[in-house]
Symmetry: D2
Subunit: 355 residues, 4 copies
């Protein structure tokens, strides 16, 4: 089996063992998919709250090289001994495990537990005691990358906040717009997870677009406010409406804010070109080309475009990401690369699977 | 064949003959589909710019009862003699034909030519001389229904303006919000028409969401501004971003505007309940239920829901319509019913084809 | 509400009340959808095993005219008093209810319980005692229509058997082929029902085709054998493989059998043209045109095409049906029309919702 | 840009330059996508019949690392100087170019020109003079791998023949079945290419399954017969019906043939387990698990399952492949690896992008 595991990468020098818990879900499965192509991170064990004892292949049929791995229990004892532990668990479940793992183990949390700085915000949106804040795994946010190099605890951003924060941070940081952002995001259904619910059946979602969490009630909202306020250097308001569209993967975030006086298209474009000039995973598209989620499907990349609406006096920015790759699993690997001192792009696809 | 044409409806009293031009396209085809179920409007001829002489069945395989009709030329001479003529042509082509049709013929234009009141707006957005304004076929707009009863010329609204105007008119008319509307709409691909383009191939659109016409450049924008300003009794600004999602039919329009002081959810809901209490085609959903395009697929109905975002101080309204039914072909039949003195709902499906 | 219920049809003379149980599922919901457009059958009550007491609108959002109906219990007492009762229940549940309904009530069973003639076949495939055989609701099968006129108990065929039987019966009846049929059918996901299962999630089915029930184990197989053997006048063998493809509705059945000596394309085409010349719901397409499920979506029609493979010496027949309309709910209404002496096509759409 | 090109792979030792012509189409684009992850094959130039002079990014938005490459002309002179040339051109165009390339250049043809051994078959199916036969790039066919090691001219199989040949070859080689195969394959739309045609529009294909090329007329049929006859050691008949289903990528091939006396499920399973025990890209799934195209999306793998239908006396085999990866572009890379003496799996994804 290992020949297969290793076949699409070449081991070079040091390798680290990785244990993934929540490996039977969509986020954990994506981490496993990416590790199959990583030359220095080796998937050494898969864990889950349920399904312990079953073959991974029954639950994740696409993970053929790992099909014969046996799912193990998801507790600190079972997760001890890996160099890296990735937590892909429902919110509220990460802290208990993380607290019992050795301090030197690199722990990357794909859940929400350690993202918010403000305990009050956590209490309001999640209704429980805050587990504490870990370095926020969005290296493209100004000043953030340095905090991740050598870190042993990292909180991977939510998929919506990743797309929205990368879309609006440059405009807010450069003072192009008022700190009053309106976001409508179209998401694929994998963002809703793998537990069966009637409204997520293929029969219900195919051929249908729908809204949910309307009116500022989506739990990703405070995370967007936190990231954008950091970029703006002051409080930012966000009106966020998520919608579900008939695709499995992908987020297309359409974001806008009122332009400040005197800002034109050239100034806006320049701010984005400067902000992302050296970012390997963020692509400001050439003028006239608009993002599609297909172009980033399965890749750790973000496609961006900006426009100025001179009549409505708004800056409009559209971002496309794969919610499972750059939105979760790819970001986890990107953060692991940074924390371990590997090149940030090691093992991460840059090309979407299109058409 | 007529047995089939008539099989799902029962003729009652007077009937009118209908000629449809542009019958080989999506909008014209939808008019034909609906006429197959209409008890008093009889499809008597199909016309098109191209394809004259071919069987309709080759070009519209779903129109089985009409499969053997021969496509005729699309000119005033060929279209003379019908009681009702429906124009489903590219913008700019309706006026020349309409001017030559008898004044007493009911002419319903599914195109843009006669929608805008302001010749300057037409010139700016379409770059040609304005053909003149016809009664606007959106009966649900306050004061509009009366203008359609007995009319002989009617301009059917665009699909996006239908969804956005019905979504925001009540809030603007009731003074719930500032006249500064932000719209992001997800549309199925049929809105882009039937002429083959690479970016509209199934291989490109399936599994992908994309933006287009960003920055206030979509031609439906001035029509939204016109309708919403009529409702508001003053100028309204609209920032409109259309997106393409992987479905053939449907528009999900997410609209928002800043709340005026003191407006709460109850007041907002009441305004919508009042506005649409007697409208057979507009449904304000019960609290907690959100619109899906599937629930209105193939039906002439609009599903609406409203929410107040107290943190962002915005009213958010989501509307779902079928762009080809209530968005075009169904609206054409609804307007014909009104103009001819028939019950407005005659022959129009009220139930979407779901799942 | 009734205005809406009746708005797309015109009552003419006698009407019958209809009660639908299993109305919260896909098959029952389709019956309700069609009744909204039927001039003489009035949906008078909805029932379900679970969800009693809830608004139908919560469970079937597209049934807007019926949204305020309260779901009632599904038992014989609750179902008494309707002129017509439609049973859309899991197999094994129909008999107990039907036995307690008045003999004069028209009972139409969308389930499998009363389809098979052979108790041994029932026992083998369903593992329980056979409930008895009712007239088989496939009027297009030679000699079958007469058995349905005036019947008070009718078993609606399964969706796959409808498509396969109509596809191959003419060839077998005319002796064009050996009685050895191979079928591979692509089905939309609604055929798998509405109860949430992980493999039916939109995330799993979108962008994916899969096989299931391979090796002759699908329970619809004996029903196909029964119908085709009746047409052939002798035993017919069927190898049936169902596949799941990314759409909500529709079955595309590709059927073939070895040609008998001397049979050419003309003879094959003639046999099908003759068999279905007078059938309002079965369309043999013109040569060169192939069926698509989109052309029959939401319609009670079947689109057929035949071809001769001279190299492989096989007749190939492709049939497209909507599994929920002609495949279930539309067939139920068609049978009710026949049983009640109404024109067979009353209230049934003949035009698919395309594109 | 090269940092990005190389970021998801690690150069190890010798590298080869690759030129791809037809790089603006789906097959050529897939070769480019895979080269972005290959450690030793470097995409050095992109070519196309049309679009010369344009940025690749305009035409293949997902190929972000290669977006700034300029498309060059597609002729022998422009293609000279690469170590490897991949031809992804319409059939009939490869020979003229290949004949002018140096004998030592490794030329891999993704088109049909050099696949068929029999000039008469070519003449019948393609209506032109045969360009000659190259080693057939299906290493998993018994005896075929050796012919590819060190070859300088390789013909990549068609996508349908790859799935069908791998599905049925073991049964025919082991004498489990009669040489009389029936195939119905469901394909995604990318197999139909990128040139815009109305019936391939998203509006037409979404929500719809359709048949085409029915009656043994598809040009891939003789290639299936050739490969299966080689495996069987005698003539094999194939009845092949392709269908189009609503997904961009993937082929699900359902194949069956009459069982020979005495063959049971165990024997059938053993033959497949033996045939593919050492094949890194062909996976016989565990009993009870059936192939899905999602599990191989974007991967160079084939998922297989076998079943015995004891009633119909047939062996049924289902294979899932990605038509653009193992079906074309991945096979091209696999063949290049073999020809150049690299490990066969170098740079090829083994894990599908699911969900």
């Amino acid at each position: 089996m290992h020949d297969r595991v290793w076949s699409c990468s070449v081991s070079t020098g040091q390798t680290w063992t990785v244990g993934v818990t929540g490996a039977t879900g969509y986020a954990g499965g994506e981490v496993c998919r990416l590790l199959a192509g990583h030359p220095q991170l080796r998937l050494a064990g898969v864990h889950a709250n349920s399904s312990a004892g079953r073959r991974l292949g029954e639950l994740q049929p696409h993970l053929l090289p790992f099909a014969d791995l046996t799912v193990q229990a998801s507790d600190a004892a079972s997760l001890a001994g890996y160099d890296v532990v990735v937590l892909a668990l429902p919110h509220g479940e990460s802290a208990a495990i993380a607290d019992q793992l050795p301090a030197e183990t690199l722990v990357i949390d794909c859940g929400a537990d350690h993202r918010l700085n403000d305990p009050a915000a956590w209490a309001r949106w999640y209704g429980s005691v805050h587990a504490g804040t870990w370095p926020y795994g969005l290296p493209e946010l100004p000043g953030q990358r340095e905090k991740l190099v050598g870190a042993t605890r990292i909180a991977v951003p939510g998929c919506y906040p990743t797309s929205v924060t990368l879309a609006m941070a440059p405009a807010l940081a450069a003072g192009l717009v008022e700190p009053d952002v309106v976001v409508v995001a179209a998401s694929g259904t994998s963002g809703a997870g793998k537990s069966p619910k009637a409204h997520l059946l293929g029969s219900e979602v195919m051929g249908s677009a729908s809204a949910y969490g309307v009116g500022g009630v989506h739990r990703h909202t405070p995370e967007m406010i936190q990231g954008l306020s950091q970029a703006a250097g002051g409080p930012v308001g966000v009106s966020f409406t998520p919608t579900l569209v008939p695709m499995s993967r992908g987020i297309l975030a359409t974001c806008s804010a009122p332009l400040k006086p005197g800002i034109d298209a050239e100034a806006a474009r320049a701010a984005y070109a400067d902000a992302y000039a050296d970012e390997p995973f963020v692509h400001l598209l050439p003028e006239g080309q608009w993002p599609t989620t297909a172009q980033v499907l399965g890749a750790n990349t973000v496609a961006l475009q900006v426009a100025v609406d001179a009549d409505a006096h708004r800056l409009v920015v559209v971002a496309a990401v794969d919610n499972l790759t750059k939105g979760t699993g790819g970001a986890a690997v990107q953060c692991a690369n940074l924390a371990l001192g590997l090149p940030e792009t090691t093992g991460l696809p840059l090309v979407g699977v299109a058409p």
